[in-house]
């Protein structure tokens, strides 16, 4: 298998081609082909994975053909299968297959199901290309491919204007990041003459500090765009306009983690410059807090999950920014997150499926009784993300928090460790709020709702993912860390003693988690005040609710909502403002400039003559000067 790596990509790509070109004839069986393709890739990926274990050097590299050759610069269409790639391939195809299976049920009533699976397989192929390439241009190919597929899938329901707008926003913000990445590639070509991973990494030492910094910042810009990190985070929550399986696969489990992959893959570049690492860590810490706080104030179930994704990826950025052994920690958290976040998104989809596409958590409540499987699986995801032992989040998030404390500078330990710790508490709060408002407390449904459990094709993937959410962290944490070095650097032998001991951190984070979860449980057990209650006969209950309300508002909601509002304001006005402002500038400039094209042939001649005089003048000036 290791000599036929291209099959991994070719199978979903071929399936996508068939699905998109076959026409209506394929409507009847198309979705099953769509499920089979990633499953086949998963099996092949497993075979390759086991093959890799016994391979000396633990990396298989192959060149399919020379993509591009000019002068002494060669760019190959080459694939690389090493431990880092292997875990990504298994995550993409494994979780991907389950989500494909789920989508068979979720999209059953949609006319465009075949087209949907076509795009979905296209995404899997592009994502595999992204992680399998052996050089940055291949990575870029996959990078653009997943961007395209994600754009197509976000605006899949294109007759919703919000979906179309969200698709556009995602495309534009991603282009900003992509431009940074593209310039980084040109910089590599100019400075090193190669884009091959091994060759680039072996020559990093020869670059000046400034070059490494610029290169790293450009790569970071690309990573932030794709992974929804500050300051390019705004598109990700909007991207939830797409079908829920898309949110689960692309905007939770795989594509948005491509930024983490990029940084982890480029670890020799990032490790070479401490300023660069500090910037990555800052981005991660800032984003993770921002995600938590905004997530706490949202009422749309998918948006809460989206902000939580932003925040969790913030943890991963924190990890890759810390460097050393924390690279592996970030990847392990990424894997675990892939499981529990996909699980929760699919759970949210299942809830929406049963509640006639309602997404407002204020309109849920008490669903535990009606959707037992969804409730149980979602609970596993919830417990995993808040990091309750022995579920997987505990084993993967905890070490990152600990690593954030284990730094040489005390202030760094306090700032970044503190942010990570605070984030853990906030995560517990908003995730509990989401869980409680959805599944417990009084029913706050709109009229005519008859919640029901989803069909087996949907809950089977849920159950499998829930099992993953429970056990993945504990089982994977230490073997995967070993498995990943190299290519990722090993933890340094000498232990750095941070400002807090390891046990203290664990205890602190658990206490904060329980506090956050308990507070949320207490506040939202009886529903939420923002929703007018159905006029019930029990006045006492209503009163109690009012009491909760006042407490809620005075103690938490007011200050919280101010902060949130401020953040949302910065988010909308600041970042969007820059994007929109630039667009307006270009558009306005264009609108003015096009008036110069008057349609009069004589003014055209004037422009030519003026240009000619300038050219002559400049040529002579260069001559004389």
């Amino acid at each position: 298998m290791l000599s036929n790596l291209w099959l991994l990509i070719a199978i979903p790509a071929a399936s996508a081609a068939v699905l998109l070109l076959a026409g209506r004839k394929a409507d009847r069986w198309g979705h099953w082909l769509g499920v089979l393709a990633p499953a086949a890739s998963f099996v092949l990926g497993l075979i390759a994975f086991f093959g890799l274990r016994d391979l000396p050097g633990r990396a298989a590299e192959q060149t399919l053909w020379t993509f591009f050759k000019s002068g002494d610069m060669t760019i190959d269409f080459g694939l690389l299968f090493d431990p880092l790639t292997a875990v990504f391939v298994l995550l993409i195809t494994g979780v991907g297959s389950l989500i494909h299976l789920y989508a068979v049920g979720y999209m059953a009533h949609d006319e465009g199901r075949r087209r949907f699976f076509g795009y979905f397989n296209l995404f899997v192929a592009a994502m595999l290309l992204l992680v399998l390439g052996n050089n940055y241009v291949m990575l870029y190919l996959g990078w653009e491919g997943v961007g395209l597929a994600s754009y197509l899938l976000i605006s899949f329901w294109y007759n919703r204007p919000s979906a179309a707008t969200a698709g556009k926003k995602a495309f534009l913000m991603n282009r900003v990041g992509d431009a940074g990445f593209a310039i980084a590639i040109f910089l590599m070509l100019a400075q090193l003459g190669t884009v091959n991973y091994n060759q680039v990494f072996s020559q990093v030492g020869a670059l000046t500090t400034g070059t490494v910094l610029v290169l790293g910042l450009l790569l970071l810009l690309g990573a932030c765009g794709k992974s929804g990190q500050f300051p390019l985070q705004a598109w990700l929550p909007d991207a939830m306009e797409g079908p829920t399986p898309v949110s689960a696969l692309i905007h939770a489990a795989t594509m948005v983690t491509a930024g983490v992959y990029l940084i982890a893959r480029s670890n020799p570049i990032f490790s070479a410059n401490s300023t660069l690492q500090l910037i990555v860590v800052s981005v991660g810490a800032l984003t993770l807090l921002m995600g938590c706080i905004i997530g706490a104030a949202k009422d749309d179930i998918k948006r809460v999950l989206a902000w939580s994704t932003v925040s969790q990826i913030g943890y991963m950025f924190l990890g890759v920014g810390l460097g050393g052994g924390a690279y592996a920690l970030a990847i392990i958290h990424l894997l675990a997150h892939g499981f529990f976040k996909a699980n929760m998104f699919l759970g949210a989809g299942s809830v929406m499926h049963g509640m006639q596409d309602q997404v407002d958590i204020r309109r849920f409540g008490g669903l535990a009784k009606y959707m037992k499987i969804t409730w149980l699986t979602f609970m596993m995801g919830w417990l995993a993300i808040i990091g309750l032992p022995p579920l997987s989040g505990f084993f993967t998030k905890e070490p990152i928090i600990a690593a954030a404390f284990e730094q040489h500078d005390a202030w760094k330990s306090w700032v970044f460790g503190g942010a990570a710790l605070l984030g853990a508490g906030l995560t517990a709060f908003y995730m509990t709020r989401l869980f409680v408002l959805t599944f417990h407390g009084p029913k706050r449904w709109t009229d005519g709702q008859h919640p029901h459990e989803s069909p087996a094709v949907m809950w089977i993937p849920l159950v499998l993912l829930a099992i993953g959410s429970v056990v993945a962290g504990g089982l994977m944490a230490s073997p995967v860390a070993k498995w990943l070095e190299p290519p990722l650097p090993a933890a340094p032998a000498e232990e750095v003693h941070g400002v807090l001991g390891h046990t203290a951190i664990t205890v602190l984070s658990l206490v904060l988690t329980v506090l956050g979860a308990g507070l949320a449980w207490a506040l939202f057990r009886r529903g939420t005040a923002l929703e007018p209650q159905p006029a019930g006969p029990v006045v006492r209950a209503a009163r109690a609710n009012l009491y909760t309300d006042a407490f809620n508002e005075a103690v938490f909601e007011k200050p919280g909502s101010w902060l949130t509002r401020a953040l949302v304001y910065v988010d909308n006005k600041g970042i969007d403002g820059v994007v929109n402002g630039l667009a307006a500038l270009v558009g306005g400039g264009s609108g003015r400039l096009r008036r110069l094209q008057t349609g009069f042939v004589r003014s055209y001649a004037l422009s030519m003559l003026a240009g000619g005089v300038l050219v002559l003048g400049a040529l002579l000036a260069v001559r004389l000067g």
Partner: protein, 99 residues
């Protein structure tokens, strides 16, 4: 009188033609200005031929004249086409394509 003055004359004629294109409205006059520029170039070619002491420049002027004649024919055809449609030879009236 050095031949260089002829070059100056050619440059002056060329500039008159180049500016003429900008200030005139009649398509045919515009076109005559372009022809003036071409002929200024011819004058320059012939003069340089004289200065350089080679005949190449004169031959080139021949070619330039033939090309100019071909251009005249094409140009007249197009201008007539427009004139018949619009009853106007003013280039400012042909102004549908813009922005």
């Amino acid at each position: 009188m050095t031949p260089m003055w002829y070059i100056v004359l050619a440059a002056v004629l060329f500039s008159i033609g180049a500016v003429g294109v900008l200030v005139r409205r009649n398509a045919i006059v515009l076109f005559m200005c372009v022809e003036l520029m071409l002929n200024a170039a011819n004058l320059a070619l012939v003069t340089f031929s004289r200065i350089n002491g080679t005949l190449d420049g004169q031959i080139m002027a021949f070619f330039a004249m033939v090309v100019a004649a071909a251009e005249v024919v094409i140009g007249l055809a197009i201008i007539m086409l427009i004139f018949r449609t619009r009853r106007s030879a003013s280039v400012d009236d042909a102004n549908l394509l813009k922005y």
